[in-house]
């Protein structure tokens, strides 16, 4: 073997040099990895570690046709990191201010204050006193964020980014928006500024809608950019599910327009219109006056935010007569042709002489069909007496009075229906005409819906289905039967009797030829300080069409309408015209075809069936 280039002396020196280098590195490593490890790790953790939260996008609320009723729009909060701002970017500040829609002087002032605060904090941190603060103890906080503008849209933020001003950043968030404004406000509810869902669908379906935030544990570089290769944990974001309601936004718009007309004409305390499909219980439209815009919920008084259709009770008045008439027919105690003396104000019941309620107009002998058509209070009272207190009460319960409808968005009250043990002697004469009982507009609506669909009381359905973010249906809602109120043949018979209300009864003139409108008017005196007053009324019209194959149930309830001249706000003058106007629109929109004459004759002959 050759002797090589090196002498033994040189080689020894080289070896010693190499060894001392390794030794030096080893010693440094021991200091870094063992002796100073904890302090250095704390410093690194603080400087580089970050947890990025990715906010879940709240699911959308759609109408039955897939139109957006509520959605989330992303926005950017634009701000600056004063430590990163560069003096040579100052010439871009005016343009930045223009893009953000702020006065240039304000932007410049905010940024300069931020820079000054950041420099002060840095200087304080560099003092010996600050350095001597042990690790983990609170120190002077550095200023790394100064907010410039809220809710900047994506396009504007793109332009801000293109400006290339160093130190200007955006924080993304989601804002709830209701593209249709006031449309279905009481059904939708709203999400407040803190992201808390307050009422309506937003609140009751929050579990589906809200989703789950995701987060990433990672590290950042000196320019605060994420170092993706150092991601240590990652929990993916789970966006919220979409909720499809049974509401049809076109029908909803129709009824809200009608409410505006009613409000302009009668200045009521409140008014409610409900439209539903009698066969499924699906609510196609539900609106109240007064209303509000959920995009501007903070400006709306609390009264305007109430869904009167479920939160408030009224005496149903004559619309309640379907209970006595339906029950008496169902029990086979009477036929439409059975007559009663409705002219006599006194009657003996259970051995006691009772005074029957007054009529709006004098009647004599009336058949059951006439009692329904002309809304005879005394006739209804006699039908109830024929049934007896207990049976009449049981039928009222079956119609859904005195218990909640199980409306899915909650907030509803169950109304008042006392059992016969708590009745006074006159209750059997007053309750059949809708006094001494209180119900929500939705309860009254669903009771009429039971007559329309063949005698079945259904749960009102407002949610059609829930879809995951990919659009797959994860839960569908089917019609839910609550009670069989009447036999189908009785319901069909009652439907025929109710058609006479609009052709020759209390709402004469409301009919639309060929479409068999049917319904019941109601005019109730209001209770003020425990007494019925003559000048304040609840006017209602609750009905359906076409009577032989009902496709729509429609309720118009107006509380305390003011009639010019101070006359009584009857259901026929306040609510029935609105009912007819809406029916005309719904016939076209839902493509309801007129009932052929032959069908009508057939239905009249056999009393109809489902």
């Amino acid at each position: 073997m050759s002797k090589g280039f090196a002498s033994s002396h040189r080689m020894t020196l080289l070896a010693l040099g190499v060894l001392s280098c390794f030794l030096g590195i080893g010693v440094r490593l021991v200091f870094l990895q063992v002796i100073d490890r904890d302090e250095l790790m704390r410093s690194v953790e603080k400087a580089r570690r970050q947890i990025l939260v990715e906010h879940a996008r709240r699911g959308a609320i759609l109408d039955t046709k897939g139109n957006l009723l509520a959605t989330s729009r992303s926005f950017v909060i634009v701000g600056a990191d004063p430590e990163m701002l560069q003096p040579d970017d100052e010439h871009n500040w005016p343009e930045l201010a223009r893009l953000l829609g702020l006065p240039p002087a304000q932007v410049a002032l905010t940024l300069r204050r931020g820079i000054a605060a950041a420099k002060l904090a840095q200087a304080t941190a560099a003092t010996p006193a600050a350095r001597s603060i042990p690790a983990g103890e609170p120190r002077e906080r550095r200023v790394r964020w100064v907010k410039l503008a809220d809710e900047v849209d994506e396009n504007t933020y793109d332009e801000v980014t293109r400006l290339g001003v160093r130190g200007i950043y955006g924080q993304r968030g989601f804002k709830r928006v209701y593209p249709d404004g006031e449309l279905a406000a009481h059904v939708l509810g709203y999400v407040n500024k803190e992201g808390v869902s307050v009422t309506g669908a937003e609140h009751h379906l929050d579990l589906y809608l809200k989703g789950e935030d995701g987060w990433i544990e990672s590290e950042k570089d000196g320019a605060r950019r994420e170092l993706a290769q150092f991601r240590s944990r990652e929990v993916p974001v789970q966006n919220g599910d979409d909720v499809v309601l049974t509401i049809d936004s076109v029908i909803q718009h129709m009824i809200e327009e009608e409410l505006k007309t009613i409000a302009a004409k009668f200045d009521p305390h409140f008014a409610t219109i409900i439209v539903s499909d009698p066969q499924t219980g699906r609510i196609l439209g539900m609106a109240n006056y007064p209303t509000y815009n959920p995009n501007d919920f903070s400006k709306a008084p609390l009264d305007a935010q109430r869904n009167y259709a479920v939160t408030d009770i009224i005496e149903p008045g004559s619309t309640f007569k379907i209970v006595a008439a339906g029950a008496a027919l169902d029990q086979g105690l009477v036929t439409p042709a059975t007559t009663f003396d409705c002219g006599n104000p006194l009657i003996t019941h259970n051995g006691r002489q009772l005074r029957l309620p007054k009529e709006d107009e004098p009647f004599g002998i009336l058949s059951v069909a006439d009692i329904v058509a002309h809304s005879s209070n005394r006739g209804a009272a006699q039908l109830a007496m024929l049934l007896g207190e207990q049976r009449f009460y049981e039928y009222a319960r079956k119609y859904g009075f005195g218990s909640t409808t199980k409306f899915e968005f909650g907030g509803e009250v169950r109304g008042i229906l006392e059992p016969p043990e708590k009745w006074d002697g006159l209750t059997i004469t007053r309750m059949p005409m809708g006094h001494s009982v209180a119900a929500t507009p939705l309860q009254i609506h669903m009771a009429m819906s039971a007559v329309a669909n063949g005698g079945t009381l259904l749960r009102p359905q407002i949610i059609r289905e829930i879809r995951d973010p990919a659009g797959n249906v994860i839960r569908a809602f089917a019609p839910e039967k609550r009670e069989q109120v009447l036999r189908p043949s009785t319901a069909a018979l009652l439907r025929q009797l109710l058609t006479r209300v609009v052709t020759e009864g209390t709402a004469k003139g409301t009919d639309i030829p060929g479409f068999e409108l049917a319904g019941k008017t109601g005019t109730t005196q209001k209770l003020v300080d425990g007494k019925y007053v003559n000048n304040r009324h609840v006017a209602s019209f609750v009905g359906f069409f076409p009577a032989s194959r009902p496709q729509v149930v429609l309720s118009v309830i107006v509380d305390d309408a003011k009639i010019p001249g101070g006359s009584i706000a009857y259901g026929r003058t306040v609510s029935a015209p609105a009912f007819k106007h809406l029916a005309e629109q719904l016939i076209q929109y839902l493509d309801i075809t007129p009932v052929p004459i032959a069908d009508r004759s057939l239905v009249a002959l056999n009393g109809g069936d489902r």
């Binding site: 073997m1 050759s2 002797k3 090589g4 090196a6 002498s7 033994s8 080689m11 080289l14 070896a15 190499v18 996008r57 959308a60 139109n67 957006l68 959605t71 989330s72 729009r73 992303s74 849209d153 994506e154 993304r172 928006v177 593209p179 249709d180 404004g181 449309l183 994420e226 170092l227 993706a228 290769q229 991601r231 936004s249 076109v250 718009h253 639309i512 060929g514 005309e584 629109q585 016939i587 076209q588 929109y589 075809t593 007129p594």
Partner: protein, 136 residues
Amino acid sequence: MKPPPANALVNQLVAHTLGLLVFGGSLGLGAVWMRQEIFSTANRNRVLESRIADTQRRLDELNAEVATALNPDSLLARNAGMQLALVAPREVQVVRVPESPELLLAAKRNREIFTVETGRPAPEDVTFHVVTASYH
């Protein structure tokens, strides 16, 4: 056997040490290159994720704008603004055709053809086998 001289042993040791350093350096460079690749890939993924999220955001934004533009009030305002005078039909304007309009139109057309060919109107009692096209 004669033992190797001491210098040769040192030379061998130096050569092996240098070889080890080159090998170690190569491993180090390889590790750095690998980390750089991991960094680039992670970064590319991050950018892609960010673009997907951005696209999703813009899609949502667009959907919200479309929904706002299509709400009934906006459409009515456009109808008024563009003086289109579009209104929902009223029942009196509607003529309902109980038979199939397709068959009616086909029958009408066949009747016209017959009239043109013979120069005489088709007698009322003549019946036609109506042939219609179907897309199904």
